[in-house]
Symmetry: C3
Subunit: 347 residues, 3 copies
Amino acid sequence: MQFTARDIALMLNGTVEGDADVTVDQLAKIEEAKSGSLSFLANLKYEQYLYTTGASIVIINNNQQLTAAVKATLIRVENAYSAFTLLLEKYNTFKLYKEGVEQPCFIHESAQVGSKAYIGAFAYIGQNVKIGDNCKVYPNCYIADNVSLGNNVTLFPGVKVYFDCSIGDNVTIHSGAVIGSDGFGFAPNPDGSYTKIAQIGNVIIEDDVEVGANTTIDRATMGSTVIRKGAKIDNLVQIAHNAEVGNNTVIAAQSGISGSTRIGARVVIGGQVGFAGHLTIADGSQFGAQTGINSSIKEANKQWGGSPYLPYKDYLRAHVNTRRLPELEQRVRELEKLIKDLKKDAQ
Amino acid sequence: MQFTARDIALMLNGTVEGDADVTVDQLAKIEEAKSGSLSFLANLKYEQYLYTTGASIVIINNNQQLTAAVKATLIRVENAYSAFTLLLEKYNTFKLYKEGVEQPCFIHESAQVGSKAYIGAFAYIGQNVKIGDNCKVYPNCYIADNVSLGNNVTLFPGVKVYFDCSIGDNVTIHSGAVIGSDGFGFAPNPDGSYTKIAQIGNVIIEDDVEVGANTTIDRATMGSTVIRKGAKIDNLVQIAHNAEVGNNTVIAAQSGISGSTRIGARVVIGGQVGFAGHLTIADGSQFGAQTGINSSIKEANKQWGGSPYLPYKDYLRAHVNTRRLPELEQRVRELEKLIKDLKKDAQ
Amino acid sequence: MQFTARDIALMLNGTVEGDADVTVDQLAKIEEAKSGSLSFLANLKYEQYLYTTGASIVIINNNQQLTAAVKATLIRVENAYSAFTLLLEKYNTFKLYKEGVEQPCFIHESAQVGSKAYIGAFAYIGQNVKIGDNCKVYPNCYIADNVSLGNNVTLFPGVKVYFDCSIGDNVTIHSGAVIGSDGFGFAPNPDGSYTKIAQIGNVIIEDDVEVGANTTIDRATMGSTVIRKGAKIDNLVQIAHNAEVGNNTVIAAQSGISGSTRIGARVVIGGQVGFAGHLTIADGSQFGAQTGINSSIKEANKQWGGSPYLPYKDYLRAHVNTRRLPELEQRVRELEKLIKDLKKDAQ
């Protein structure tokens, strides 16, 4: 698929400087781009590459001044970064476009599938499943009985959704993610063994959520584990039974949220962070990587770090002090000696 | 599926107070229950809801006294919590009941499958596999050559079991778990590269074990990685080659056990805990979340925390002291000044 | 499959002591071996077992002296450990040998599959996929459009490779690993919501790499996430978009590498380690388990530990000091009292 500079300027409502007929068939970073590539310049840190890039076309801001000759055709737009992001998205939408039902797949006769769906080979769609319009269910996905998917949902290959779960519109779930597995609930017996507590709740994922590869979200014991609208969850994250993740909250890879913990809205969680169970975390909280949170947080919009967690600045200061501990001990040792001498003198 | 209060009282050997003909078709928490729901009251913290709940039926203890009017039909039993747990379990058994072989699936002609099995579409069952009675192998599961499953085993969708592994009775493995992948063993070469050490052992999972979603249990180099009877393992846990997990040991999500480490019986391991390799951990040990264990533990039944680990109380105290370090340094600074003054005075 | 001591001695270019006709059909550790097993003695710590083992055949070094009677047939070779490793490998190659195409599977008509391939049932091979010779694609694997695999590649069951990714020769990827899922990139909007940044790059895995079960390697935003030749990656590891892992670098389970971080060659990373984004890590660096790295490392071949990380020795010393903090505080308290007394005396 090739485009001319003229085509692209038209899409972006931009103006061409240079050869409008030059063609590109891929997107690339300005410092790595080769002939046939389209690139962009938004961050002035990279301005030097504008004059040396191999790209055939570069999108730049209207107000970008040139200080040397440029080989590439330029397309000037109001905001080069947004314009390029838009192209990225169009490119990906085109690349990932799939429609139709591949065989063999398993679709229960009671299941409803909306228009323009893609159902990949070896996908399994159970009883009473409802799938909205423009959904893509890639190969080897499993959608259990009574699950509902909204419109524009993409399940990448190998996603598993257990029975009774509900997924909203515009949700993307990456390969290997498991939605609705049993919560980890066992009642201890006097002999040291455990009896499983049946987990009969479900998982509700609201609109505009993204779930990363191999992430696990357990169903509630009763009621629902809930991922609120706009939340973004990275790979290998664990979300336990009856937890709740607030609107537009972002969780980086390998973090874990224990049972019944409620994370507020607009919370930002770094990688490998862990939350104990039954906590409530205020809106807008921010957590550094590897933080361990063992109590509820009531003040909104604060930054935290360390395990157990401290206010982020205290955590950094404590760490610096920890490093200086050998020196502090040395100072105490000297004081002890001085005092011993002083006492001797005083006698 | 609807039940009357009379039906349920009969199942639970309880007595009805109120309308025995009222029907329910779902289970719910007392504080969230709506008309048509069955709920229970066991924890007195929730007693207030008994008088306001929308539930149509509430199970309560025989000795529960009423201090106001109750709208719901009551069923009195000896132990309301156990009675409700029993109903949860019956409900789930009914919900999850599957039997028969869905097509297409792949069952090698040499495989043996017991009675009342469910084999889902796109499941793969290799050469010489033995599957006991009442087993459920959900869609997209893979069971390699020479694997044996006992009776009442459930493999949720997408579980992978590599060749030669052995799984006991009443084992449940959640979606995406991998049993028997190669141990991580490589011999360094003089040029900095590595040669793989073939991993020819297997994994043995004894009876009554539960394994969480996307958990990985590696096969032994030689011999077996062993999960003993009654162990419960949460999601995204890593268990390395030749490790052993003792009877009724519980491991929370995202914890990892390195190669050849032997965890005793009745050990309780919080989330994101890590064990180094070649350790022996005493029975009944308990580990707080994010603990790091780098040496063997001989004393049984102790609690541990921190990384590297300390006795739990020392860990908490060290943490408090770490937090107070800036203050301690200030005190040392004042002492240094006082002594300087004293020395000056003494001269 | 049975072998005589004579057969094995021939394979290993060794000499038989004892009954050359005795047969074995399995490999075992010397301390656990039973009749019919082949074992080896390389580490003198295990020498005692040579005289008590149940093994039918034991491989020993040419220079091994005997101090008591040995029941087993012995095979003497130059290096017993390497000889045994060679047998392990032959054994595994034999055990894992698969060839041919199982039905049903999905192979797009435009895909090219090399000679002696194994394509398992329910495997999916997309448009323009190129698969080299001697590759094994186990059941339930998914290989998206335009992916290329070199020669001698093994994808164990359920591996997912997203579109446009490239995998070299002699690569092994274990079950459930996901290659090429979207990088975690979202641009914040003024209302607190996020807009996804399309991830149009890919993942390049060079020759001789091993990737563990349920590990996730995200595709680059643009350009490539790269795993260099000879790198070995354990289970449940996260590698984010545009990261790079150097030649012969080893990463233990549950570690995570954030976006755009470049790990050098011959780096050794313990379990549950985390790297922040946009770092550069020098060749030959070594990291203890659970280390947290939040800045670039320029000095090669150093050891590091703790979170945030310190030179390994400083980390251990700081930890010891942290443990002694209550004692240090007590010493400061005593000094304060002594000084108070001295000042009183001085007045």
